[in-house]
């Protein structure tokens, strides 16, 4: 799998927020075997130095986000600051349309992606399953799309399965990452079985009773879903169909 020019093996991208302790975060990253962790930028304060040291130890790729941004100016400035601090052109583009629903603003997202792609960023846009928005994001230079499964932090799984299936089929050769809304490993399996390329998670692991064990559960689920998709699922039938051959059945009457 390739994200821009980077070959990526792990299909799990992991958020770093909301863990019970820095140690649990570190252990969860390790257990998940993720190669990419998402991070943010916030005002420099007392906790800054500790977190800097912590993430340096992870030896993972950083995917900085623009979380909390509502306007184009905020997004572009945040992305430029992130590029300097994290020394990466990758940016997880989130332009939030409403503070309660955390739904992406598709119009501002396309506008921001256009500016950022021109500025040399490699944009990972948080979007919906809308095909036209997806087309426009690709047209302005994105090479990846990140449709939501459900609203951020809701844990509802895939809210629009048919719409997501259509999106997968329509953008056949574009890496599609389910970003947001995944609450259980079974939901991650379902997305991977549908042919999505990867899952971006945070709350489902961070807020589990045992985040480290949940990280392992998601790692295995995502791998199972990926294998299942590659292996090819059987067709569903309306009626039962015997699997044991009838030929050679002994006459015992």
């Amino acid at each position: 799998m390739q994200f821009y020019n980077e070959i990526i093996k792990s299909r799990l991208l992991l958020g770093t927020a909301g863990y019970p302790s820095p140690e649990v975060l570190m252990q969860s990253i390790k257990a998940s075997e993720t190669e990419i962790i998402t991070v943010s930028l916030r005002r420099e304060g007392v906790a800054g130095a500790e977190f800097r040291q912590l993430i340096a130890k992870t030896q993972r790729r950083f995917l900085p986000n623009t979380a909390g941004c509502h306007t184009l100016k905020e997004v572009v400035t945040t992305a430029k600051m992130a590029r300097e601090v994290f020394a990466t052109n990758w940016i997880k583009l989130e332009v939030i349309g409403h503070v309660d629903t955390l739904q992406p603003d598709p119009f501002a997202t396309v506008e921001a992606a256009k500016i950022l792609c021109k500025e040399g960023f490699e944009v990972f846009p948080y979007t919906t399953e809308d095909l036209i928005v997806g087309e426009k994001l690709l047209n302005v230079g994105c090479k990846i799309l990140m449709p939501w499964g459900a609203p951020i932090g809701s844990g509802q799984g895939l809210r629009n399965i048919e719409g997501l299936k259509t999106m997968r089929r329509y953008f056949k050769n574009i890496p599609l990452i389910i970003d947001a809304g995944i609450g259980a490993p079974s939901q991650a399996i379902q997305a991977m079985e549908m042919g999505f390329d990867a899952i971006l998670l945070n709350t489902a692991i961070a807020k589990a009773k045992n985040p480290i064990l949940m990280a392992e559960a998601f790692k295995k689920a995502i791998l199972a879903g990926q294998f299942a998709f590659e292996a090819g699922l059987m067709e569903k039938r309306d009626m039962a169909y015997t699997s044991t051959p009838a030929y050679g059945l002994a006459d015992l009457l």
Partner: protein, 65 residues
């Protein structure tokens, strides 16, 4: 001179952004800055002159989803 640093009103005698960071014991290699909402690259800290009421934001890596 009075200006705003990460939302707080501060008074400084420093003339440029590099001096302000030094005064506040902030390691310039670990942070990024914006003035009045516009990004200021590290290479420009020395020649970025401070002005009255400027809104300076200094950010660093934090947890994120």
């Amino acid at each position: 001179m009075k200006l705003y640093l990460n939302g707080d009103l501060v008074v400084t005698q420093e003339k440029n952004l590099a001096g302000l960071l030094q005064e506040k014991s902030i390691d310039a290699t670990c942070v990024a800055s914006a003035i009045n909402g516009n990004f200021v690259p590290r290479s420009r800290y020395q020649d970025t002159v401070l002005k009255e009421n400027m809104k300076i934001e200094i950010v660093s890596p934090m947890q994120g989803g």
